[in-house]
């Protein structure tokens, strides 16, 4: 059993990161119906900026804070310059825009930073903890805890604050939200900033474990997108469950079947779920109005 425990722990750690990326997809999708394939780049920026700020001599917490703020600013700029300007464009065009942004951000990162792998020191040392015969890095607890705090914080934000409710209202019906006086442009800006910040935070937390480089964004975006689809696009609860489920699937596959195919099996299971439950685990069934 310690083996299984080990796989579960590593699965939840990775899954927490996927859940944060999926959450980023969900927030932006709800506010604007855009599937933002640049979401993974926010994770990359979070890690890379922290690394370089830290190397420049800043204390780690400050470096992380700067990275999160800078990434959030990048998210807002992306929304203002590209997404808002392209309002009303067909879905294919919007997808291409976000993929273009992803490639662009990667390009900037490899010029401004470099093409090397980078690491950060773990926040609370590298001494593994023992749980039920399995070991876990303290940094994993940071990742899980960070994800938990983000999800709880967002839940409070969406249900307890006026701004959060405005965001929810916008995702339900943009026109109706505008009619009752909600500034939907502000909601979109907020959503992009928030998603970018959450992505950056994930990047900061996970870099001590997985390292980072300018090109880690794509695979994270794909996994996060898959997790969001698995949970049901547009549902934060779905993002959490989908992310953790995907992380666990990967870890168990890598442990018991084949580490080469861990990414593939995850996609196969997602396909199977989509065939059986097209709305995802928590997606709402949409009815077309004509």
């Amino acid at each position: 059993m310690p083996e299984l425990m080990q796989f579960l722990l590593s699965g939840i750690t990775v899954g927490a990161v996927y859940a944060l990326v999926a959450l980023g997809f969900t927030i932006i999708y709800n506010a604007s119906d855009v599937v933002n394939f640049a979401q993974g780049e926010f994770v990359m920026l979070g890690g890379m900026i922290t690394v370089f700020a830290y190397q420049a001599g800043l204390p780690l917490p400050l470096a992380a804070l700067i990275a999160i703020a800078a990434t959030a600013a990048a998210g807002v700029a992306f929304n203002k310059l590209a997404i808002e300007t392209a309002r009303g464009a067909p879905v294919v065009s919007l997808i291409i825009i976000t993929i273009g942004a992803s490639i662009f951000i990667q390009g900037v990162a490899q010029v401004v930073f470099d093409k090397q792998l980078h690491r950060l020191p773990a926040f609370s040392g590298d001494e593994p903890l023992h749980v039920f015969g399995a070991t876990i890095l303290p940094q994993s607890l940071w990742v899980m805890g960070g994800a938990l705090i983000v999800f709880v914080g967002l839940w409070v934000f969406f249900t307890r604050t006026l701004t959060g409710r405005a965001v929810l209202a916008t995702s339900n019906n943009r026109l109706a939200a505008q009619l009752v006086g909600i500034n939907t442009n502000f909601v979109m800006t907020l959503s992009f900033g928030l998603s970018a910040a959450i992505g950056a935070l994930a990047g900061v937390l996970v870099t001590p474990i997985t390292l980072t480089s300018y090109q880690i964004g794509i695979s994270l975006a794909l996994k996060g997108f898959a997790a969001a689809m698995l949970g049901g696009m547009g549902n934060p609860k779905g993002a959490l469950v989908g992310g953790i489920a995907l992380g666990l699937l990967e870890a168990l596959t890598a442990g018991y079947l084949s580490s080469q195919y861990k990414d593939a099996v995850a996609f196969v299971v997602i396909l199977a779920v989509l065939f059986a439950m097209p709305q995802g685990l928590f997606g709402r069934k949409a009815m077309e109005r004509v």
Binding site: V35, A82, T85, A86, A89, P90, V91, V92, S93, L94, I95, I96, I97, I99, G100, A101, S102, I103, F104, I105, Q106, G107, V108, Q110, V111, I218, L222, F225, A226, M229, M233, Q260, Y261, D263, A264, F267, V268, I270, L271, L274, F275, P278, E288, V290
Partner: protein, 318 residues
């Protein structure tokens, strides 16, 4: 006699293919040209799927991979002639597209995107991991098609790049001709109709799920043929052709040039094939430029480059 839009498109394409070599500064450009045509062929398939039917695939490189590796594996393990292997690849691609697409295309929204994404990643992983059969990440050799030798025996001597330039150009012309025929046929109108309004398409009797599936299968065969041509002319193939980045490239080429127009999409293939060649000087800035171009065109020229530019010129002429 007045040319129809279809005839004009084909004529422009044919003239460009035939006349361009006279301006090539070196033989190297035949290589670039045939690469452009091979990409163009796959992109014409995307036009049918995305431009006509409005569906997005993020895994079409998977079919390129099937077509490419069919030309390496079928001759080696089944003893098939390379040309027949390409046909086999097309059949396998079409059948796979049918199996993947059938359950997915009944649904609306991003499902085809995620399903095709998963499929494409699956194919590229199998190709990279089953090294015993596929040669793994290092790639595998493909046999000689033998057609160039045959032509030489008949008295038509071509260098290898010239031969592949001609053959790929011919394949692209045929592919474009088929797609242009389709566009103005009952099936093509059904595809464009469901792109415009699925509900209305269904009320005029169009079986929307089946029509989308058909577009997906046809575009998969295009991608497969493109992969086969690529593998046979390079005499070598690696799993990269099936990768996610190549899928994205294909969609980007089509949408950039103008997914609704066959000529526009080929134009897009041209730009994205030539741009990296031109940008090698600025190698570090290639990604920045590419990403920027993608965003700018999509934000400011929603129909894609070629239709937008043509529209501007027409507006000015009148």
């Amino acid at each position: 006699m007045k040319l129809s839009a279809k005839q004009a498109s084909l004529l422009v394409l044919a003239v460009l293919i035939v006349l361009s070599p006279f301006f090539f500064p070196s033989g190297y450009y035949f290589r670039v040209g045939s690469l452009l045509f091979v990409n163009g062929l796959a992109v014409v398939g995307i036009v049918i799927l995305t431009g006509f039917a409005g569906q997005i695939s993020l895994g079409h490189a998977g079919f390129v991979g099937i077509g490419a590796y069919a030309c390496a594996l079928a001759p080696a393990y089944l003893g098939l002639h390379p040309a027949l292997s390409a046909v086999l690849g097309a059949v396998v691609s079409g059948a796979t597209a049918y199996l993947v697409g059938r359950p997915i295309l009944r649904l609306k929204g991003y499902y085809l995107a995620v399903a095709s994404l998963g499929f494409g990643i699956l194919v590229s992983m199998v190709l990279a991991n089953e090294a015993r059969w596929t040669g793994g990440p290092d790639g595998i050799k493909t046999p000689d098609l033998g057609l160039r030798g045959l032509l030489a025996d008949m008295g038509l001597e071509l260098t290898n790049p010239q031969f592949w330039y001609a053959l790929s150009g011919l394949a692209l012309l045929i592919g474009a001709w088929l797609a242009l025929n389709l566009r103005d046929s009952p099936t093509g109108r059904a595809l464009r109709a469901l792109h415009g309004s699925e509900v209305a398409a269904r009320t005029v009797g169009i079986d929307v799920a089946q029509a989308k599936l058909m577009a997906f299968v046809v575009s998969a065969v295009y991608a497969s043929a493109s992969g086969s041509l690529l593998a046979l002319q390079n005499r070598f193939i690696t799993p990269d052709v099936a990768g996610y980045m190549h899928s994205i490239e294909l969609v980007t080429m089509a949408v950039l040039g103008g997914a609704g127009s066959v000529l526009g999409a080929i134009f897009g293939a041209g730009i994205l094939t030539l741009l990296p060649q031109a940008l090698t000087v600025f190698q570090n800035y290639e990604q920045i430029m590419l990403g920027l171009v993608m965003m700018l065109v999509m934000v400011f020229m929603r129909q894609g480059l070629l239709p937008s530019v043509l529209g501007l010129m027409r507006g000015r002429g009148e």
